[in-house]
């Protein structure tokens, strides 16, 4: 009866599918070597460190809506603060989607309390008059610098002299920015330092800001800035006063989070409430500045959602436990498949090994490319996936056995069983992938790590079943050990419960 059975394409070319498997494995291996991705990046819960999840919200007393751009700005503010710690491999990322994004800060090693203190404060935008500006390095205190410019206290002058903006730690920003006082400040990039007067216009007095290009005059990109009523008055007074002064006192610094973003020179008194900031801006620079000004109009506060400080000891304990659980789980699954499926079990063990190697190689590469880090929840996801992967083999194997029970020869059962099992496997894996994708979309932190590995390993499972497991089964079905129904092959008449054993070997 099998003479008419239509054989799927893969059946005729098992060798080709296996070659694809080998090629993919080799290609990934080569990529790993080329990229130099030699170790899986471990999450903080596996190596110790501090992670803080911040939920941005409108600052006290503000009304309006949190915008996407404001959160982008908040992320870059926090990134600036965290980078000032100078800890290698610190990371600031936004997770989630749209305005519900959280900011996740991870800093490895023993920095716990400093990180927590650093990231919680609201960042404000202020306009201050520049009193003194100069090169970023600390100035030697001996000699002429001791004479402070008019209106600057000796104390501030000394601070200014000592300030070294070339050190990342001094570009933290927060804390030094008291609105009503003179401050010393660095610019964001650390290329100059300033003494600034008290804040005269506040960020929330900005009503609009945008980047535009002036094609006709050829002056290029500029930023258009509009103030509200109070802002118009305050900015008018400020610009009227400073416009006649000499440089650098005729400059107004735009200060965000205690750092100077830009310090344009005032060319005329601006009393209309609408100003243009020109310069040799690129499009990107102009847009950045406009975003900073817009953010200033609606400052965000940061709620500490969760702080987790894990000591390196606990980290390595968790890593060990995760790996142990993985090997134990894999071992049990291997043992069970061998006991139950005998010779066929070897196929599932081989498939699991292939899936395992693919997963490991992808972890290495994704760590390099996407900054994927393996967390404890991620390890758990991978272990759970062992079960899902093995499930697909069982679905297929049981199908083959059903077909043999119906009286087919092993060789045709392998093909007709595959046609049916394939559907089940695709539908079932697809449900798993939907689950993983939704978990990833809706969750933060550890849950995302779990969802990511679960989704990834399910995809790998699909790949392995199609290009490895099925072709291998096709091949072994031609071997006498299996096709004759050897007691250890997993196809023996006794283990299948076939009533007339001869039907296994002969075409009925």
């Amino acid at each position: 009866m099998s003479s008419t059975s239509r054989t799927p394409k893969a059946a005729s070319r098992p060798g080709r599918s296996l070659a694809i498997t080998a090629l993919v494995l080799l290609a990934l291996l080569a990529l790993v070597f080329i990229q130099g991705a030699t170790a899986v990046k471990l999450g903080l819960d596996l190596r110790g460190g501090t992670s803080v999840t911040l939920q941005p919200r409108l600052a006290e007393g503000e009304s309006g809506k949190v915008t996407n751009a404001a959160i982008d700005q908040a992320v870059s503010i926090i990134r600036q603060r965290v980078n000032s710690l100078g800890v290698a491999e610190s990371e600031v990322t936004a997770q989630g989607s749209g305005v519900n994004r959280q900011i996740v800060i991870s800093v490895p090693g023993d920095t716990g309390r400093r990180v927590v203190d650093l990231v919680g404060q609201t960042a404000e935008l202020r306009f201050r008059q520049v009193l003194v500006s100069g090169a970023p390095a600390a100035t030697p205190t001996t000699g002429s610098v001791a004479t402070p410019p008019a209106g600057v206290s000796a104390d501030t002058n000394a601070k200014y002299a000592a300030l070294d903006c070339t050190l990342a730690a001094n570009r933290q920003g927060t804390g030094s920015d008291v609105a009503t006082a003179q401050i010393v400040a660095c610019d964001r990039a650390g290329t100059s330092k300033f003494i600034l007067g008290p804040a005269e216009v506040l960020g929330r007095q900005v009503s609009k800001a945008s980047a535009s290009i002036n094609q006709s005059s050829g002056s290029g990109w500029y930023v258009l800035l509009t103030f509200d009523n109070d802002g118009t008055k305050a900015f008018g007074t400020m610009t009227s006063r400073v416009v006649t002064l000499t440089a650098p006192e005729n400059e107004v610094a735009i200060v965000l989070d205690g750092l100077v973003v830009s310090a344009p020179r005032i060319n005329e008194a601006i009393t209309s409430g609408s100003a243009q900031i020109t310069g040799s801006f690129t499009q990107l620079e102009a847009e950045d500045l406009a975003n900073v000004l817009k953010y200033g109009a609606l400052p965000l506060a940061f709620d500490r959602g969760e702080v987790q400080q894990i000591s390196p000891t606990l980290g390595s304990d968790q890593l060990r436990a995760g790996l142990l659980a993985g090997f134990l789980g894999l071992g049990l699954v291997v043992l069970y498949s061998l006991l139950y499926y005998r010779g066929l079990g070897i196929v599932s063990v081989g498939s699991l090994l292939i899936a395992g190697s693919l997963t490991y190689l992808l972890f290495l590469l994704l760590g390099k490319w996407l900054g994927f880090t393996l967390t404890l929840a991620g390890i758990a996801g991978a272990i759970v996936a062992i079960g899902i992967t093995a499930d697909s083999f069982i679905v297929y194997f049981e199908r083959i056995r059903d077909e043999v029970r119906e009286g087919r020869s092993l060789r045709s059962a392998v093909e007709s069983g595959w046609l049916r099992a394939r559907r089940t496997i695709i539908v079932a894996d697809f449900v798993s992938i939907i689950a993983a994708a939704l978990l990833y979309l809706f969750a933060v932190g550890g849950v995302r790590g779990f969802a990511f590995t679960l989704g990834l390993t399910t995809l790998i499972d699909l790949f392995v079943v199609f290009v490895f497991t099925k072709p291998i089964v096709t091949l072994i079905a031609k071997m006498r050990f299996y096709s004759s129904g050897h007691p250890l092959s997993g196809f023996s008449a006794k283990s299948l419960g076939v009533l007339v054993p001869t039907t296994v070997t002969k075409e009925a």
């Binding site: 009866m1 309390r113 304990d317 049990l332 758990a380 049981e398 539908v427 079932a428 798993s432 939907i434």
Partner: protein, 354 residues
């Protein structure tokens, strides 16, 4: 093992058959009792929520020979407000859990513990959760749950039949209910890791159901034209035929989860691994149960209401009477509601594949 395979063969041919669908009222009753118990447990005891949901702080000190009393003395001396829970975890760890604290108070607790046990503050494993955070993750978990149910409902309705999708989703909701109920009843801690576990169960439970339904669909594709079996009988055969498969897939899925649970609870005492795998373990067990005992009977009931299926059932009932009069043997185990003849020879010819 091979004995089990032998059973597989007999189940496949229908010689051995468990009447899952005919006795559905029994399974519904069992599940009903569990669900009512779950609702009672939830409303009277509630879930034992971890600090991630309530807000609060947790400090774990890891040093040989320390005691709960020492830790309590140190924490009490700081005079922080609210109730503190101090527990011993595993051999050498003591965990202090407090309510929501300010940063200053939190630093105070860390300093006190560090001074008491002569360790660095950075060696204390600390978790601080803001009071609004719990609401945020609860909201996200619920979004995830509903999003999942809707997307999967649509997907299964497309891949299978709408009624299969409904039956599968009912089974999933049943699983979540019972698992949550067990958590409330036993008083296990519910943490975000537990929630991940809950959400993953949904995927797993459906995986199982999909495997059974796929066979049901295959068996019932031609029943109206062959008129050998009613929908319920064909569905029941499908469950029996996939029984070994369901058992194997569930067991294989449970093995790794079980080892996470074993290692997580045994070596680490508490934390992500234990919480996650416990939820998975309980959920997997109920998931396997529901795909066999709840989803398929429910599907059969839904489909039997269709006029075509009722007509089929009538035709077969008529036929069976005639057959019963002619034949002198009854069904092998007497399990089926309608006494169709069993055994390999009396099986309907499965449609031959081209």
């Amino acid at each position: 093992m091979s004995k089990l395979s032998g059973i597989g063969g007999r189940l496949y041919r229908g010689e051995t058959s468990v009447d899952f669908i005919g006795k559905r009222r029994r399974w519904y009753a069992i599940s009903g009792i569990f669900i009512i118990a779950s609702i009672f447990a939830l409303s009277f005891q509630g879930l034992h929520l971890g600090i991630e949901f309530k807000g609060g702080s947790s400090y774990t000190v890891n040093k040989a020979g320390i005691t709960v009393e020492q830790a309590r003395a140190a924490v009490d001396a700081t005079g922080i407000p609210g109730e503190t829970i101090i527990q011993k975890i595993g051999g050498d760890k003591v965990r202090v859990q407090t309510g929501a604290l300010t940063t200053a108070q939190s630093n105070q607790v860390q300093d006190a513990l560090a001074a008491k046990f002569g360790i660095l503050t950075d060696a204390i494993d600390t978790q601080i959760v803001g009071p609004s955070w719990g609401k945020e993750i609860t909201r996200k978990a619920l979004y995830g749950l509903f999003g999942f149910l809707i997307v999967v409902l649509l997907y299964l309705a497309m891949a299978f039949e709408p009624k299969m999708a409904i039956a599968a989703i009912v089974a999933v909701i049943h699983d979540v209910f019972i698992t949550v109920g067990i958590y409330a009843l036993v008083g296990f801690d519910v943490t975000p890791a537990t929630v991940i576990g809950f959400l993953t169960i949904l995927g797993y439970s459906l995986y199982d159901t999909v495997v059974v339904f796929d066979k049901v669909r295959e068996n019932t594709r031609t029943i109206t034209s062959t008129s050998k079996m009613t929908y319920s009988q064909a569905a029941n055969l499908a469950v029996n035929q996939t029984l070994v498969r369901s058992f194997n897939t569930s067991l294989i899925a449970l093995l790794p989860v079980g080892s996470i649970l074993f290692v997580g609870a045994g070596f680490l005492g508490a934390g992500t691994l234990k919480d996650l795998s416990l939820a998975l373990f309980i959920g997997l067990a109920t998931g396997t149960y529901s795909s066999i005992f709840i989803a398929t009977p429910l599907l059969a009931v839904l489909r039997e209401r269709e006029p075509a299926m009722q007509a089929l059932a009538k035709r077969i009932a008529g036929k069976t009477l005639v057959q019963a009069a002619v034949a002198n043997n009854a069904s092998v185990d007497g399990g089926a509601a309608i006494a169709t003849k069993r055994g390999p020879r009396n099986q309907p010819k499965r449609n031959r594949r081209r």
